[in-house]
Amino acid sequence: MAYDKFNILKSSCVPLPIENVDTDQIIPARFLKATERVGFGENLFRDWRFNSDNSPKEDFVLNNKKYKGKILVGGKNFGSGSSREHAAWAIYDYGFRCVISSFFADIFRANCLNIGVLPVQVSPEFLEKLFNQIYENPETEIEVDLTTQKVSITEQKISERFEINSYKKENMLNGYDDIDYLMNIKDSIKEFSKSTPL
């Protein structure tokens, strides 16, 4: 289904400087039992965020009032492991609209783009500056501009360009999704199917 349009996002960030964050951590399997896409934000990072008695773990960043915002900043190889789109849903449902990292796992990146969360891949150096800046001033505002494909640490006056293919960019700017596109070419798909052996 079409989602919110994404244009320019200005927000403070939540830092999570851990590498190889896998989708089992983002949303553990036992919370995948819903048949509708609701309420996944509650269980985002469930086992890092809560003790087994459901009390919050004080040292986890989502329980630290200092850090909030619509941008999640993660370490290298973010979103590895299971293909569960529920991970992207949980991130979205919690209130994030953008994830910044120096490297994303493939399926996770695709899932984000399909639901309107923007994955922004930056250089390791930029990521480090970003983490430092957030720790120095948790209220730092970061600007993610999809039209110009630029992410900026306004306070430090530094910015970096990020890549996104132009088709996906159009989709995000307009809130379209792939199914809208595919539905429009259904006749050529049907025609194509006649030539496939299986």
Binding site: K33, T35, S83, A110, N165, Y167, P197, L198
Partner: protein
């Protein structure tokens, strides 16, 4: 022009190329299970569309299903609800459905090949990352998210940029006690969990051509654990023998026609890969993981490496060891374990049960170990019984459970308790993957069997 195997299959499925964008890729086979499909079906309902090609979609229940008393109603209401949704959605859209209790039921990536749904040259997707398993037959197979499941249901296509190509060649032969699982864990330990991100892998070399179809499936299954979109192996006589006569494979004239096409499915001599990597098979030992991602693996008799010697963050590495309660420099051999899990789409096939049985035969399960032996499908379960393996396992103190994903992702009741160590033949050792607080050591069925007998990490070569 010289093409890779991957190019040949991919290019022949492109419905449309979008400039500066993804390819529209036609999907031949779509496997569906209860966990990642309900929201996709809901999407179809909202759009008011039906499944475009119901005969190309196959549903099986596996992720959520109990592995004991499958004849009784499913206890957990949420799981029961998902299973019911899959059944109803399948019925409504006219999709083949192998639910709980169906004789063909089993793990999606085990039953696909068993019944010939998986074929060379096909494009296969499923809302599960280990869809890469099917690449063992020379298919392009990969995991997708739920939005893409909805895409395939409604249009039989997905939109993806064409990945880059990597070839991993393993030459030579494998030593005693070294299995396909060890080969895969070895490669991942060398490449890391992101080393193949953005690539589609082709495995080649004598180690793979000598490997059984089951072994090839294990290797391709684990491709995703090094970040690859998928992995594939060119089909050969073994592949054709395996699929011949299966329910969904072509028959008679159609078989001959298919064979003509299938025999062209290999990388041309001068085909260019974006990356080539080579290993020597004789250098591989039985492997085991010590950390919280599948790249953290070592030869079973090695010591846990020092943080400084590892790529990536020392902080992340130490956090991982801390979770496992291991120290740098520890030897893995001799560490006590609590659980053994034999199963999953990685190692839940008949060959895996044969290997496991080979070690435990005539010995007794260690009293401190709880062992869950979960066949990948009813067909595997039947073979275990028919081949007399069950009797040997029972005599050694093991019981067999009913098929399903089970402790691979612990969505059902098969959860490893917090703090306990499990030697597992599955594919992921992430924190809490096998239950909150569980500690997973990934290994081959042989290593699992050796651990089950001795109650600790043991080199299986000492028991063969």
């Amino acid at each position: 022009m010289s093409n890779t195997l991957f190019d040949k299959v991919w290019d022949s499925h492109v419905v449309q190329k979008i400039k500066d964008g993804p390819d529209v890729l036609f999907i031949d086979r779509h496997m569906v299970h209860e966990v990642t499909s309900p929201v996709a079906f809901l999407g179809l309902k909202k759009r008011g569309v039906k499944v475009l090609f119901p005969n190309k979609t196959f549903a099986t229940a596996d992720h959520n299903t109990p592995t004991i008393n499958q004849h009784l109603p499913v206890q957990d209401p949420l799981s029961a609800n998902q299973l019911k949704a899959l059944e109803e959605n399948s019925k409504e859209h006219g999709i083949s459905y192998w639910g709980l209790g169906h004789e063909k039921n089993g793990i999606v990536h085990v039953v696909g090949p068993e019944y010939g749904i998986t074929q060379p040259g096909a494009t296969i997707v499923c809302g599960d990352s280990h869809t890469s398993t099917h690449g063992a037959f020379g298919a392009i197979a990969f995991g997708i998210g739920t939005s893409e499941v909805e895409m395939v249901l409604s249009t039989q296509c997905i939109m993806q940029p064409k990945p880059k190509k990597m070839r991993i060649t393993v030459k030579g032969s494998l030593n005693k006690g070294v299995t396909p699982k060890d080969v895969a864990l070895f490669i991942i330990s060398k490449l890391s969990t992101s080393g193949a991100t953005g690539y589609f892998v082709e495995y080649s070399g004598t180690v793979f051509s000598n490997m059984s179809m089951e072994g090839r499936m294990t290797v391709c299954n684990l491709s995703i654990e090094m970040g690859a979109r998928g992995g594939m192996i060119a089909p050969d006589e073994k592949t054709f023998d395996y699929i011949k006569g299966k329910e969904f494979t072509p028959k008679g004239k159609n078989w001959e026609r298919a064979m003509e096409y299938w025999s062209t499915l290999k990388s041309d001599e001068n085909a260019i890969f974006d990356k080539e990597i080579e290993f020597d098979g004789t250098k591989i030992n039985p492997m085991i993981t010590f950390g919280t991602n599948p790249g953290m693996g070592i030869g079973i008799s090695n010591e846990i490496p020092k943080a400084e010697s590892q790529d990536g963050g020392v902080h992340t590495y130490k956090k991982s060891l801390n979770y496992m309660n291991f120290e740098e420099g520890d030897s893995m051999i001799g560490k006590n374990i609590d659980f053994v899990f034999l199963g999953s789409c990685t190692n839940g096939r008949i060959e895996d049960f044969r290997e496991f049985t080979r070690i435990v035969k005539g010995k007794q399960k260690a009293s401190n170990v709880t062992a869950w032996l979960v066949p990948g499908s009813h067909k595997v379960e039947k073979a275990i019984k028919d081949e007399g393996l069950l009797k040997i396992l029972n005599d050694s103190g093991f019981e067999l459970r009913e098929p399903g994903c089970s402790a691979c992702l612990a969505m059902n009741d098969d959860k490893i308790p917090a703090g306990k160590y499990a030697v597992s033949t599955s594919n992921r050792n992430f924190e809490g993957r096998q239950g909150p607080g569980s500690r997973t050591l990934l290994a081959s069925p042989l290593v699992a069997a050796a651990a089950a007998i001795t109650g600790k990490i043991t080199d299986p070569r000492t028991l063969i």
